[in-house]
Structure formats: structure tokens, C-alpha cells
């Protein structure tokens, strides 16, 4: 079954073609990051407008790349949520119009399920069950994955997402949006011994995260430095380093606990922050100590993309799941634990 996947939940327009027999056939992405950088963050209305401009040209692109025509599609999947309502609507409406025209089944899928299963697109996919850390600008979650649609939330951020904390820290340090990679780059020059930031919620049991206190601590530290004179580059780098260490350490501690608690030996790490080099180094080290293995999607599937949506859609469409033709809805808030395995539908 050849499925077109459409992702428009935030600031990336992603389109891909996945074949249940031959795997990923093509994927294309248009990132709006540069546009939103001028505004210091994602502007939902501008994101939606851009999806409307970019979506069909990307569909053309993946069909051409796979040497297929629109009639060769067997089904269409789109991100129905969670995400920005207006942005989600673009993908949903276009997918449904296209499905109606082609007389093919169409299905709205869960964005985070896409991220969870993105490592399945790799040559050595993890076997079920596994623990997944989803860590991005919008989410920080630990999930136990028994199979497709069998997810148990182990813990999540009670306030800011880890990626959001990176962006806010970047802003305080005078770095541009998106801040994650820039903070990490600055942190490379930092002295890891000079400052130590708190590791929120690691001193008590549980798998929930909190990053808003870290944001406040960063600000307080900055103010303290500034009170003594202009902030020099080394101080900025040291703050970035301490901040990154605190976030990474917190994520690693919770992953370790999640593996202990579930007794599982496989850890999937996905979402934009999973590209962070320090995080990967630390998780690799942690996994090696306990004979476990970490799995990551390839770089471009760590962030939002159409491939993961095509993959999830294909699994569920193949099992017979579909939307009522012509009837769609964006689900900006859609709890992941309401998902069920494809077989039971």
C-alpha cells in the first residue's frame, strides 16, 4: 500500500510517500524556520499561510521523486493533531479534497505517534516493546511503547518543554530563534565546572519533568553576572554550558529511571532536541552501562516531517482505519493515551 503523508502541524510543511512493501519512497520538506526567526518564534497565522502555498508543490515533488502519478496513491494520511489549529487545518482540508478526488481512503493521524515510530523508518528499527523519550520544542514525554497504538505515558513535563526551555535560554543569552542548536554551540566553549544549575524534579521519585525553574535560574544567574559588569563571551558560554548540562542531565536521569521501572532494554529518542550531541553522548554511555541500546531517527526525521506521518498512516490504513469521507477535524489537543492499536478498530 502506497500512502502519501502530509504534515502541517507547526512550522514545517512535510510530505512523503511510504510503501508498506518497499519502505520510504520519497520525502520532501519545506522549513519555515527562517521566516519565523524574524519574529522571534512561530507566528501561527504566517505558518498557516505558508502551508497553503507550499503543500501541493511538495506533493508534486515526492511523486516526481518516486516516479509515480497521483493515481498511484492507495491512501492519504495527514497530521490531525496535536499542533496549531489553523496549520493543521491546511493539511486536513487538502488531504480530504485529494482523497475525495482520487477515491482513496484518508486518515488523520497523531503527530506524536509519528515521532514515536519514526525510528521504524531506519534500517535497524527497534523491536517492541521500548521506552521512548519524545523531546522537542512542544513536548517532553516518556512513553512505554508495547506496540503500535499501545502507549503508556510514563511521565511528561509539567510546564515548559525541553526545547522551549532551550529557546527561552537562547533569547536571554541574546541568541536567535530557534535557540537549541545555538545554545549547544555556545556551550561547547563553556567551562563545565564553573557553574552548576539545579536538576529539577530529580531529587524525588517519578518521571515527570519541569523546566520552567531552570529558565528562572538562568535569568537570575545572568542578572548576577550583569550586576558585576558587562557580560563577557566566556560567561555567556559558561551559562549556556551549565544550562545544557542541567537539561541533559535531567533527561538522562529520567530515561535511566524509565528503563529501570519498565525493565526494558531499548530506548527510542525522538523530537528536535534528540539532535543534541551532549544528550546523545550521555544516553549512549548510560545505555552501554546497562546493556541497553538507544535508537534515533535519522537527523531529518528527528524534527517534524511527512515520512513519519506516511508511516503511521500506512500502518493504520492497512488495518482498515479511515476517516469518514469529506469529514475532517483538527485536534490541537489530542492526548496520546487515547490512541488504540489498529487491530481493534
Amino acid at each position: 500500500m502506497r500512502v502519501l503523508g502530509i504534515e502541517t502541524s507547526c512550522d514545517e510543511t512535510g510530505v512523503a510517500l511510504y510503501d508498506t512493501e518497499h519502505g520510504l519512497l520519497a520525502d520532501a520538506l519545506f522549513s519555515q524556520v527562517a521566516m519565523h526567526a524574524d519574529y522571534g518564534g512561530v507566528v501561527p497565522e504566517l505558518a498557516s499561510r505558508d502551508h497553503t502555498r507550499k503543500l501541493l508543490p511538495l506533493v508534486d515533488e515526492v511523486l516526481a521523486e518516486a516516479n509515480l502519478t497521483r493515481g498511484d496513491l492507495d491512501g492519504i494520511a495527514y497530521t490531525a493533531g496535536p499542533g496549531l489549529a489553523g496549520a493543521l487545518m491546511v493539511g486536513a482540508a487538502t488531504a480530504h479534497g485529494l482523497a475525495l478526488a482520487l477515491e482513496r481512503p484518508v486518515l488523520g493521524v497523531h503527530h506524536m505517534e509519528g515521532h514515536l515510530l519514526a525510528p521504524m523508518l531506519e534500517d535497524e528499527p527497534p523491536a517492541f516493546p521500548f521506552v521512548a523519550l519524545l523531546v522537542s520544542g512542544g513536548h517532553t514525554q516518556l512513553v512505554e511503547v508495547q506496540g503500535i497504538g499501545r502507549y503508556q505515558l510514563l511521565g511528561e513535563s509539567v510546564d515548559d518543554a525541553a526545547g522551549e526551555a532551550f529557546d527561552k535560554a537562547a533569547k536571554m543569552l541574546g541568541l536567535d530563534y530557534p535557540g537549541g542548536p545555538r545554545v549547544a554551540k555556545l556551550a561547547e566553549q563553556g567551562d563545565p565546572k564553573r557553574l552548576r544549575f539545579p536538576r529539577p524534579m530529580t531529587d524525588r521519585p517519578g518521571l515527570d519533568f519541569s523546566f520552567s525553574g531552570l529558565k528562572t535560574h538562568t535569568l537570575t544567574t545572568l542578572r548576577a553576572f550583569e550586576a558585576e559588569g558587562p557580560l563577557d563571551d566566556q560567561a555567556r558560554a559558561d551559562i549556556a554550558r551549565a544550562f545544557e548540562e542541567a537539561v541533559v542531565d535531567t533527561l538522562v536521569i529520567k530515561c535511566r529511571r524509565a528503563l529501570d521501572q519498565t525493565g526494558l532494554k531499548r530506548l527510542v529518542v525522538a523530537g528536535g532536541v534528540s539532535a543534541n550531541v551532549r544528550l546523545r553522548e550521555r544516553l549512549e554511555h548510560e545505555c552501554a552501562k546497562r546493556d541497553a541500546r538507544a535508537y534515533y531517527p535519522r537527523g531529518r526525521f528527528c524534527t517534524d516531517n511527512g515520512a513519519m506521518i506516511a508511516y503511521v498512516g500506512a500502518q493504520r490504513l492497512l488495518a482498515g482505519e479511515r476517516d469518514e469521507p469529506g469529514v475532517f477535524a483538527a485536534r490541537p489537543r489530542w492526548p496520546m493515551d487515547t490512541l488504540t492499536p489498529p487491530e481493534t478498530n
Partner: protein, 241 residues
């Protein structure tokens, strides 16, 4: 592509489907060789559930498959941003899947045609409430079922609405939700507007008529090229550096 043949009554022989979700109403209309059937519901927040099923109903009633469509059209704005994109996405997806051209129809032109068909008046000023203290507005001359834009579509405060220059003497009719702001409109404008159809909403029926005519004149483009027209383009402010 060559324009399709005309009947003796000058009605384009063609089959078009128009979709609109630009206001709290949503609608679909089918043009089939000059005959128009339409569905129209006021269903705020239900556009995504109503729009395409209405289109399917119209085709089923006419006994036509989707492949009978020669072109598609949608209400390209101005109007509710999200509504415009719902209709745009659905119409673009349909047109792309069917490999047919797409036409974007002005919601203001559709209002003008609707008013003209209702009252048989020739000079129409459509205005839509754009919120934030502004209206979307334009002026049209209407004759024998055709509408011609005078000047440009604009978004502006109702206090600054004027009659088209040099045409203050004509008898104008106001149409659309923007005219609910009558009290703040300038006196010279009020003096030139004999009546208002405040309750008229943009609809696919007028749009499919305008689209059929435009299609017969050779209009219609690749679907991704037919983008919504928001008029209000200042929606965010760049950070100062």
C-alpha cells in the same frame, strides 16, 4: 485551453463546483450547463464537517461523478483566515486530484452578484466585517449578471469608506456584514447608499456563477497557484534588533 462552447442563451456549457467557507456560513454550489444547485448552511466551527459532504450531495443529486467537473472554484477571500484556507485546501486537493484548473472567486464580488440578483440594482458596495475596527470593502458595477470591480478591494476602517470618485450621484446599495457598522460610516457615504442588505453572506452559489463565466473566458490555473486573498497582511510584527 480553448473556451468551451456557449449555448444560444450565452450560458457556458461546463460543469463546475464551488466551495466557500469564508464566513460563519459555509456553502457549495454546482454549475452544470447553466443550471445551478447549491447548499448553504450557517454552521460556525462546523465547516470541516459540512463543506465536502455538501459538495458530494450536490453531485449525487445531479447524477454526476467528480470526473464530470471541468474546473473547481472557491471563495478566495477576503474573509475568515482559517475559513479561506479550509475552502482553499479542499478545493486545491480536489482540483489537484482531478487534474483540473482552479479559480479563486472574490467573496466581495460574490456579495455584489448576490445583491444584484436580489434587487436588480447596478451599483453595489459590498463590505465585510474584518474585526479589529476594519471592514473589507470594494465597489462594483453590475449588469446582466456580470460584475465589474471599480478600483481595488481594500481593508480599512469603516470611518474612511467612500463612494467611488466621480460616482457619488449614483444610487448605491450596501451589502454584507460590514454595513452593520453604519453608525460610524461618514455622512457623504450614507447619503449615497439607499439601502443595505446586512444579512447577506458570501456564498458558493454566486461564486459558481462568476467562476463559470471566468472559466468560459479562459481563466483557471494550476491549483497551488490559486491562493487565498487575505487583504490584511500585517498579522505579526518583526522583533526589533
Amino acid at each position: 485551453m480553448p473556451p468551451p462552447p456557449f449555448t444560444t442563451r450565452d450560458r457556458p456549457m461546463s460543469t463546475l463546483l464551488a466551495l466557500d467557507a469564508s464566513s460563519s456560513a459555509c456553502s457549495a454550489a454546482l454549475w452544470h450547463d447553466g443550471e445551478v444547485t447549491a447548499r448553504f448552511v450557517v454552521a460556525p466551527r462546523e465547516h470541516t464537517r459540512r463543506l465536502l459532504p455538501m459538495a458530494r450531495e450536490l453531485l449525487a443529486e445531479a447524477g454526476l461523478p467528480l470526473s464530470a467537473l471541468d474546473a473547481l472554484a472557491y471563495g478566495r477571500g477576503p474573509g475568515s483566515f482559517t475559513g479561506l484556507r479550509i475552502a482553499a485546501g479542499a478545493a486545491q486537493g480536489l482540483a489537484y486530484g482531478l487534474e483540473r484548473p482552479l479559480l479563486g472567486v472574490s467573496t466581495l464580488a460574490a456579495l455584489a452578484l448576490a445583491a444584484h440578483r436580489r434587487l436588480h440594482l447596478r451599483h453595489v458596495l459590498p463590505a465585510l466585517d474584518a474585526r479589529m475596527g476594519e471592514v473589507y470593502a470594494a465597489a462594483y458595477h453590475c449588469e446582466a449578471g456580470r460584475v465589474t470591480l471599480i478600483g481595488e478591494e481594500a481593508v480599512l476602517p469603516p470611518e474612511r469608506l467612500t463612494l467611488p470618485l466621480g460616482q457619488e450621484e449614483r444610487d448605491w446599495v450596501g451589502v454584507g456584514s460590514g454595513w452593520a457598522l453604519w453608525d460610524v460610516m461618514p455622512a457623504p457615504l450614507q447619503a449615497g447608499v439607499g439601502q443595505c442588505l446586512v444579512d447577506e453572506e458570501p456564498g458558493a452559489e454566486a461564486m459558481v456563477r462568476l467562476a463559470a463565466e471566468a472559466f468560459a473566458a479562459g481563466e483557471g490555473e494550476a491549483p497551488h497557484r490559486v491562493q487565498p486573498v487575505y487583504l490584511r497582511d500585517q498579522v505579526a510584527w518583526k522583533k526589533s534588533r
